[in-house]
């Protein structure tokens, strides 16, 4: 889960990290609570919003009101602006970058910092990677102060004690909340303290069960503020936590593995077809998940043909067949279904499909060609 800025900042503040005084603005009338001058920051879950006009400093009431209205009418990188964080402006003498994350190359937590903080950090990383300082942390002993002091030295920080205290807090949050990324950019050095002016936090969805209360609170806030238009299929997939990516074509696709799912898409494309979506059930799918996944994919009215691409390892084809047959029986639907089925218990699954009047191909290429042809014929 990616936190919105105001959520991340609130979380840091709760743990004792200095942040600017701020107010969340979700409608123009919230402006009453805002003291001027202020910095209005669009709460959208994407980077680069500053360059896209999503951060605006306003001095007077009239200006504030018109900028707020303007922002609420705008869409930043695909995200309609639903909320603004209004923060008191801060006098900054230096802008640093700090992050704690799981480095997937080294399989180690990584503490990272740069004296070139601010909106251009990605450029810095690309052009002058030596300006990004990295310290791997051994997870069995955690981040020790010497590693933090080493960063402080590289960043030429004067108040080392304050920096060590801040980074320790970051490490604690990272550990306690199962974060996979915790980034403060910029970390501002003001006249008398270190202050987080923007933060990005990714929490591990796989660990949500350990932090149920926090996750559900953050999620419901995000849902409340997210007014992007969503198709029926998208809404259904979110509700059912099914991995579904709409692609705009007319051939619906369900796979039981990400690799074969992508291969199937590639093959549809190469055969001249247009995939309507990517949808993968994961290795632990059963009959019910199969059935519910079909409901999601077929909720998309653009779908003219559905291809189900199955090559069970962990997934059992008898269970998949049961789910497909149940769906077909329960729904009065007319979209033709092309099934590729092989692998674990396919000997049991294929007869079940046949009995329900459905056919199954053993070969993926044949199944794809059939589906693409059917889509063209319709």
């Amino acid at each position: 889960m990616r936190l919105l800025e105001f959520q991340a900042i609130r979380l840091l503040a709760e743990k004792g990290i200095f942040v600017p005084k701020g107010v969340l603005v979700t409608s123009p009338k919230d402006l009453q609570k805002v003291s001027l001058p202020t910095v209005l920051k669009a709460q959208v879950p994407v980077g680069g919003r500053g360059k896209a006009g999503g951060i605006r400093r306003v001095e007077q009431a009239e200006e504030a009101s018109s900028v707020v209205n303007e922002l609420f009418d705008s869409t930043i990188m695909g995200h309609p602006v639903q909320a603004l964080l209004a923060e008191d402006p801060v006098e900054v003498s230096r802008e640093l970058y700090v992050a704690y994350l799981i480095d997937k190359q080294a399989n180690m937590p990584l503490l990272m910092a740069s004296s070139a903080g601010g909106i251009d950090i990605e450029e810095v990383a690309k052009k002058t990677p030596e300006r990004i300082i990295k310290k791997y942390i051994d997870p069995v002993v955690g981040a020790q102060d010497y590693a933090i002091r080493s960063l402080a030295k590289a960043l030429e920080i004067e108040d080392v004690r304050a920096f060590v205290s801040l980074i320790r807090k970051i490490c604690t949050i990272f550990q306690e909340l199962d974060a996979t990324l915790l980034e403060i950019n910029p970390l501002a050095i003001t006249s008398n303290e270190l202050m987080a002016l923007d933060a990005k936090i990714l929490l591990d969805d796989k660990a949500a069960y350990r932090h149920q209360e926090l996750f559900s609170e953050l999620e419901s806030e995000q849902k409340y503020l997210d007014r992007r238009h969503k198709s029926r299929a998208e809404e259904l997939s979110e509700k059912r936590q099914i991995n579904y990516v709409p692609l705009g074509g007319n051939i619906g696709m369900i796979a039981d593995g990400a690799g074969t799912g992508m291969l199937t898409l590639d093959m549809i494309h190469d055969a001249g077809g247009k995939p309507a979506n990517f949808c993968e059930m994961g290795g632990m799918a059963n009959a019910e998940i199969m059935q519910r996944t079909m409901e999601v994919v077929l909720a998309d009215d653009l779908v003219k043909v559905l291809i189900i691409s199955l090559i069970g390892g962990l997934t059992r084809m008898d269970e998949m067949a049961e789910g497909i047959v149940r769906y077909v029986k329960d729904n009065d639907q007319s979209v033709p279904i092309v099934i590729r089925m092989c692998g674990t218990n396919a000997d049991a699954g294929i007869p079940m499909l046949r009995e329900a009047g459905l056919d199954a191909y053993e070969d993926l290429a044949t199944a794809v060609q059939t589906a693409v042809q059917q889509a063209k014929d319709l």
């Binding site: 996979t180 039981d256 291969l263 190469d270 390892g313 092989c342």
Partner: protein, 289 residues
């Protein structure tokens, strides 16, 4: 022998009484894998498919020599179970669970390094050495004994390619799934190295997806360390940028993550690029294998 496992590998199945563990244990046993014991807390003293069950790994290793463990323990309990295995001195662990929190995986992998053990996965189908040993959930009828080594980030893609090869009479030495999640133990490079050194492997098929920079690392490794031919298939060239297509590993990260950029890297170091799974048998035959 094949890499990592062979017909003599003595296997313990952790989580042997769950739906999946019990079902897969039977398939592996029937395939010929030497399963010597199973572990499920609270189920000790019973048997599953004739395999004795213990409450604890320490009890099982007192009674049996164990070379490898395949774990079907659910994600929430996987860390505890993995540390139990590593603490008992067993040196090879296959972690099938999907959805283990990243912080747990980090500790397990670090602890494995401390204990000198190898972890395959998590979120892996495991591995199969056709005709010798199956330590995983592969649909084994799609595989046959032979001289092609397969290493794949995706389980399903390795089945698909295995199936196409077998249909064309081309057998495999070992088929390894390194794991679908964002972090995993045994690296692609380590597997490539084993294939390079394995006398029974003549050619390697490397299967990848869009996202990450795994294949760039593989390309660097191939350039420096590999003499055997490598055929690579990268799926997802039609995936739109930025869309998450299943595995967290398959997020397109800048230019490096695109299928095209991966293919370019691999081609540069002499890998043979397959456009689709269907091309692979022909490419192998061209190499005279």
């Amino acid at each position: 022998m094949a890499i990592l496992i062979d017909e003599n590998t003595r296997v313990l199945v952790q989580g042997i009484t769950g739906n999946v563990g019990s079902f897969q244990a039977q398939i592996m046993r029937d395939y010929g894998t030497k399963i010597v014991a199973g572990v499920t807390p609270g189920k000790g003293g019973r048997k599953v498919h004739g395999i004795p069950i213990y409450d604890l790994v320490e009890e099982a290793v007192q009674e049996h020599q164990v070379d490898a463990v395949i774990s079907f323990v659910p994600a929430r309990f996987a860390k505890d179970a993995a540390i139990e295995v590593l603490s008992s001195g067993i040196r090879f662990l296959v972690l099938t669970a999907e959805g283990i929190p990243d912080h747990d995986v980090l500790i397990v992998l670090r602890y494995a390094a401390i204990k000198g053990a190898t972890v395959l996965g998590p979120d892996t189908p495991g591995l199969i050495s056709p005709g010798k040993c199956k330590l995983g959930v592969h649909p084994h009828t799609m595989f046959m004994e032979g001289r092609v080594g397969i290493v794949s980030k995706s389980g399903s893609l390795s089945y698909e390619v295995g199936r196409v090869l077998t249909k064309n009479g081309i057998g495999q030495s070992t088929v390894v799934g390194i794991g679908g999640g964002p972090i995993w133990g045994l690296s692609q490079e380590a597997v490539l190295q084993m294939f390079e050194e394995d006398p029974e492997t003549e050619i390697i098929v490397l299967l990848g997806e869009v996202g990450g920079k795994l294949e760039h690392d593989a390309a660097a490794f191939i350039e420096e360390h590999m003499n055997k031919p490598v055929i690579a298939l990268i799926v997802g060239h039609t995936a739109p940028k930025g869309a998450q297509m299943g595995h967290a590993g398959a997020i397109i990260e800048g230019e490096e993550g695109t299928a095209a950029s991966k293919i370019t890297s691999l081609e540069r170091v002499g890998a043979i690029i397959a456009k689709s799974s269907l091309d692979i048998p022909e490419l192998i035959k061209k190499k005279g294998i």
